[in-house]
């Protein structure tokens, strides 16, 4: 099965492409809405600003293409800001609407620790959520770079602590999101990507 990586300019596409190929993905990289709408397995990367990333999706009608693909049963993965875009909205610069594929909202860290969070952090998988992408790496350490995150999201499958619990990963039916950078999380990160590529 082909994995379709959305070629967002608000992302480090090269790194995630390399990681996906390393774990055996048959990869195509595109920003064509028609190709995206027909994809069976989609990856939405992202770094930096939620607003800039969302605006780019809307301007190129990729938001609609993603919805079409998911409605047709595609399996989808959002990474970092791509994960945040899956939510209903973000509080970045007031409220900005997201794709609404998972429930909840993304907020700026308000804990006592410095923002952004830059570095490794240990996640804990939520018990009883059935199979997830964390098969074999349920409580591993992953690499995060973020100022915003959801917390206690209804679709949370893994959480971590940064002066308070935040959502490290979500899963709703066939839509997955990872707040951390699997492509920078060494063997554990590659394991998560491999689990996604192998997901049926």
């Amino acid at each position: 099965m082909i994995t379709t990586l959305i070629d967002s300019p608000v992302a480090n596409v090269a790194n995630i492409a390399r990681a996906l190929r390393t774990v055996g993905a048959d990869l195509q990289v595109t920003r064509d809405p028609e190709v995206i709408a027909n994809a069976e397995k989609l990856v939405l990367p992202g770094v930096g600003s939620f607003i800039a990333a969302m605006r780019w999706l809307e301007e190129h009608r990729i938001d609609a293409a993603i919805h079409a693909a998911v409605q047709r049963g595609a399996t989808m993965l959002g990474v970092c800001v791509g994960h945040q875009l899956l939510f209903d909205c973000s509080q970045e610069m007031g409220a900005t609407r997201g794709l609404g594929l998972v429930r909840g909202e993304v907020r700026k860290y308000e804990g006592a620790l410095p923002v952004p969070q830059i570095g490794w952090n240990r996640i804990q998988s939520v018990a009883g959520r059935g199979p997830t992408l964390f098969d074999g790496v349920e409580n591993e350490v992953f690499y995060f770079v973020n100022s915003y995150a959801a917390s206690h999201a209804p679709d949370e499958v893994a959480f971590a602590d940064y002066a308070g619990s935040f959502t490290a990963a979500v899963q709703r039916e066939r839509v997955f999101g990872l707040q951390f950078h699997p492509e920078k999380s060494s063997a554990a990160g590659l394991r998560v990507l491999r689990n996604f590529v192998a997901w049926t």
Binding site: A112, I118, G119, N121, V141, A160, Y162, S185, S186
Partner: protein, 488 residues
């Protein structure tokens, strides 16, 4: 571990004495306003010391203590409690626990009488130590017993908490006595006191395992530590691992290693080294292009591209970055973060510009510091030339301009294997909030521990030690884990 704010009272003011000397008083003003300014939450423990009582042997600040006790704070008070009557006076004023010092060391019978009357749970034994010797009477004379004897006696009375202060460290901001606390063999719940001056100190104490609490005085008053942040870090001390970072010094596409930045020798192919390090468990990789300041940059970009293609951990690249375009080129070549050094010293605005363009997380300040007289100077041109800028002030300024992290290299220690420069690390980590990577001097396992524990570094970097396979990254991680420092 409990993080307990501490106020010293003298003349109804909050004060600090340097090394217990009543002649060197710094005043912080009215106790209640001081307490308000520290954001001490309800239900918190509060440690008070009545300095006048400590000297004269009579409770003096009863009125203030009474007011604090009424504010839903769990007050413990110490200073000159030499009799049951003194202890009773404080208990009547509403304190939860009395902190008994001189008597605990000198007068076993009085201590026993106090415990019998008030109950052991309301007594904390306070033991002041200087150079391994127990001191009493406002630190002005030696006690006749050893630390071990005092601890054993205290324990036998059913007392569960002992506050241990290293007088040499108290208020001097040079860090607590990690070695002292590590060496204690006792079932008592130890409260560490003295020298806690950075957030890193609090975290390091919590990792010792032998320490159940720490009191913080001046560092809170001087805003070097925020109580809420310290408590947040201590609540989950193992969630965020400290990082081991191998460094590749690269020249003309080859890994090289020099001693004190000169006398360079070849150490291999960058891609092979990088892959080996990731396999060994490196948390991040730093590539410093040490030729870049002097020669062409195309080779460096190619090296970064080749390394990043086979690397799945974060990659920081530095060396010869002069402009925002140099910065962008390295990110495009596969770097996650870019370190700026000489160019930022000449044009500090470059830091702010890069932070705005690429995000604070992408900007690393690389600061090469050298001991010059009684300060550290920031060096330029690969450590060859002084900028005449104070290195600690420069790090602070870079943080304000938008640096995500500081890579702090001791030019004096680099390549010597004599250990990281703890004094340099402390000087910077007590001044900035962003994390500091210790660099220069790693030669043995305990150097890594000391840089993190005493230096306050959040990451430790080494080059030749790993290149020469004298230690593997796995060796360092196993050692740190055994020392209670979390690693990935």
């Amino acid at each position: 571990m409990d993080v307990i704010p501490s106020l010293d009272l003298l003349g109804s003011q909050v004060v600090r004495l340097l090394r217990g000397d009543y002649a060197t008083v710094t005043s912080y003003g009215d106790p209640e306003s001081v307490l308000d300014s520290l954001d001490v939450p309800r239900g918190s423990r509060l440690h008070l010391v009545d300095l006048e009582a400590s000297r004269s042997g009579r409770p003096v600040e009863l009125a203030i203590v009474r007011r604090f006790a009424q504010r839903d704070l769990r007050v413990q008070v110490g200073g000159g409690i030499r009799s049951l009557a003194d202890a009773q006076a404080w208990i009547d004023a509403g304190v939860e626990k009395v902190v008994i010092g001189t008597v605990a060391a000198d007068s076993p019978d009085v201590l026993r009488a106090i415990v019998d009357a008030l109950g052991a749970s309301r007594v904390i034994a306070a033991i002041d130590v200087r150079d391994g010797v127990v001191r009493v009477g406002g630190w002005e004379r030696d006690a006749s017993t050893t630390l071990d004897e005092v601890l054993t006696r205290v324990e036998s009375l059913g007392i569960t908490e002992a506050l241990i202060t290293d007088i040499n460290k108290d208020g001097a901001m040079c860090g607590p006595s990690f070695a002292l606390y590590r060496s204690l063999q006792t079932k008592l719940r130890i409260i560490a006191s003295g020298g806690v001056s950075t957030l890193g100190d609090v975290v390091s104490l919590s990792r010792l395992g032998s320490v159940g609490g720490c009191v913080i005085g001046r560092a809170l008053l001087d805003r070097r530590i925020r109580l809420a942040e310290a408590r947040a870090r201590v609540a989950t001390p193992n969630a965020i691992p400290e990082r081991i970072i191998p460094c590749l010094d690269v020249r003309d596409g080859r890994v090289v290693k020099g001693v004190n930045f000169v006398g360079i020798r070849d150490a291999g192919d960058p891609v092979e080294c990088a892959t080996r390090y990731e396999t060994e468990g490196a948390d991040e990789l730093v590539i410093l292009d040490i030729s870049a300041t002097d020669s062409n940059r195309t080779t460096a970009l190619d090296t970064v591209r080749r390394v990043s293609e086979s690397l799945f951990i974060p990659l920081t690249v530095g060396g010869g970055v002069r402009t925002i375009e140099d910065f962008r080129a390295l990110l495009r070549a596969g770097a996650d973060r870019v370190a700026i050094n000489t160019a930022a010293l000449r044009n500090p605005q470059l830091i702010a510009d890069c932070a705005r363009e690429f995000g604070v997380q992408a900007v690393v300040l690389s600061c090469d510091a050298k001991h010059v007289g009684d300060r550290f100077e920031a060096m330029v041109r690969s450590g060859k030339e002084s900028s005449n800028v104070d290195a600690v002030e420069w790090c602070k300024r870079a943080e304000e301009l938008g640096t995500g992290e500081i890579l702090l290299t001791s030019v004096d220690r680099d390549g010597t294997n004599a250990g990281y420069d703890i004094e340099l690390l402390r000087a910077v980590t007590r001044t900035v909030r962003i994390s500091v990577i210790a660099s220069g001097g790693a030669g043995a396992l305990e150097h890594f521990r000391d840089a993190i524990e005493a230096g306050g570094a959040r990451a430790v970097l080494a080059a030749s030690l790993f290149h020469d396979r004298r230690l593997s990254i796995g060796d360092v991680k196993r050692y740190l884990a055994a020392e209670g420092i979390p690693v990935r």
